[in-house]
């Protein structure tokens, strides 16, 4: 009986430790991906603004269709907020970013960048808008490169680290 209990506990410990490790590894894997999606979104936005002068709500509809969750969801949410007619366009985007960011792997530094952009979107001429977007795009590229480096360093590490920590815990406890 005792043995069965012990081995069950050991299994649970190893399993959960492995899961935690995988989750952290996944976080490292997703972040550069999502940053790339964001870059893609901003490039689309830049094109729409500079060539077609499409108003922001229309751009967001396009973005929410073309870009995968959870990044695409941010724009869909912004549109939804805007259609209620209670906020300004840039406030709608800011709120959507702050709420939507929880379901992404982005960090507060990334959010800061996006919020700055949201604050200046729609406030200037086409060339000014494009400049703003390019600036954020450049920052995003840097962030993405760093994230990619981190991923290479940490993804495999955490994948095994979780499992190994679980095993070592079990050994210690036994």
């Amino acid at each position: 009986m005792n043995l069965v209990m012990k081995s069950a506990c050991a299994l649970i410990i190893v399993y959960s430790a492995t899961r935690i490790g995988l989750l952290i590894a996944d976080n490292y894997r997703q972040r550069p991906k999502q940053l790339r999606q964001l870059q893609f979104a901003l490039q689309l936005m830049e094109n729409e603004i500079s060539f077609a002068a499409t108003p922001l709500p229309e751009i967001w509809v396009k973005l929410s269709r073309r870009i995968k969750q959870p990044i695409g969801g941010i724009f869909a949410h912004a549109n939804q907020l805007l259609s209620q007619g209670l906020t300004t366009t840039s406030d709608a985007l800011s709120t959507a970013i702050q709420e939507g960011i929880k379901s992404t792997c982005l960090r507060s530094s990334d959010v800061e960048m996006l919020l700055t952009l949201a604050g200046s979107l729609g406030k200037g001429s086409r060339t000014e808008q494009v400049q703003c977007i390019r600036l954020v795009l450049a920052e995003l590229t840097v962030a993405e490169q760093e994230a990619e480096k981190e991923r290479q360093e940490n993804e495999k590490l955490w994948r095994y680290l979780g499992f190994l920590t679980g095993i070592s815990l079990v050994i210690v406890l036994l």
Binding site: I49, A53, T54, L86, S90, G122, R126
Partner: protein, 322 residues
């Protein structure tokens, strides 16, 4: 003269006005538009002042609160969907048209470039002109501007001081010729050259007001260029345009007359003598191009027709009808 106004397209389009305002303002604005100042034509919003509602009979300050810069920015944001860059041309011209055909004019700091005003920023005042379509506004006038013998519209000039209903009348004339009406007027092919987006109230290119089924609208197109374009490419029988007054307009109008197109236009002016004082209009009036002149006033509300003259400035009909 029977007054055949069928009423206005009020409720739906008032909602688009109300939704331009910040949420806190909406109940008050809704109340004022529906109860305090029915038939409101203009809403003026100036920073640090009370909003002003103007109708033909009444001016009313809504003393709820003074307008703040944020309120103004909210209205602008709602009007241009938060995308100033998409309205660069409008920002240069100083006005834009929103859904429902209402026009918002604005003032602020002008940003200059080599060729003139590039755009306006830091808005300090907005003037919302509520598009109010009066279906049947032209019913009384139609029989005087239609040549029954030749079955074509007369070349007509409508003149009045501002806010006397020129645009409303012109719009309904367009609609009446385009759809045909009881006086034996068959439907004509009409082109509206709508330089200031007021006649048809185009929003994203689509007319928001009823200008008839056989009407083409050249939206935002300079009159002189637009009239020539229309004659060449749209083959209109009637060209309708607002507020003529440039020398180029006159040349284009003459071109239209030569092409056998009926022209119906409007201009600022109290009466014929007043127009004879004005440099460009003088030539037009003296040349005897127009066969009918409609002089409007606000004596019995906007759209009161005071006089109808013929080409030789003889009174065809002493008005006082709408």
């Amino acid at each position: 003269m029977p007054n055949q106004k069928n009423g206005t397209s009020a409720p739906t389009s008032l909602n688009t006005i109300v939704s331009l305002f910040p949420p806190a303002w909406r109940p008050a604005v809704y109340r004022v538009l529906n109860e305090t100042v029915p038939g409101c034509q203009e809403i003026r919003l100036r920073v640090n002042q009370y909003p002003l509602f103007i109708s033909a009979k009444k001016t009313f300050y809504c003393s709820r609160q003074r307008i703040s810069q944020e309120d103004l920015m909210f209205v602008m944001d709602a009007a241009c969907q938060g995308s100033l860059y998409a309205f660069e041309e409008e920002l240069r011209m100083g006005y834009l048209t929103v859904a429902g055909g209402h026009r918002i004019g604005f003032s602020g700091k002008a940003v200059l470039n080599q060729s003139g005003v590039e755009r306006i920023k830091n808005f300090n005042a907005l003037n919302i002109r509520i598009a109010c379509q009066v279906l049947g506004a032209a019913a009384g006038a139609m029989q005087y501007i239609f040549d029954r013998q030749q079955q074509r519209p007369f070349h007509t000039l409508i003149a009045s001081p501002p806010r006397a209903g020129k645009t409303t009348l012109l719009r309904d004339i367009a609609r009446s010729f385009s759809s045909g009406c009881q006086l034996g007027v068959r439907p004509f092919q009409v082109t509206i050259v709508d330089e200031r987006s007021e006649l048809a109230g185009c929003y994203q290119g689509i007319p928001q007001l009823d200008v008839g089924p056989n009407t083409d609208v050249l939206d935002g197109c300079p009159k002189a260029v637009g009239i020539m374009m229309a004659i060449r490419s749209l083959a209109p029988e009637v060209v309708i345009t607002d507020e003529i007054g440039n020398p180029q307009d006159v040349i284009a109008l003459q071109e239209a007359l030569n092409a056998g197109v009926a022209v119906i236009a409007s201009a600022h002016g109290r009466d014929i003598d007043d127009m004879l004082q004005r440099p460009v209009l003088k030539d037009l009036v003296q040349a005897g191009i127009f066969e009918r002149y409609l002089i409007l006033s606000t004596r019995r509300g906007p759209g009161t027709i005071e006089f109808i003259y013929d080409a030789n400035h003889r009174v065809v009909k002493r008005g006082d009808f709408q």
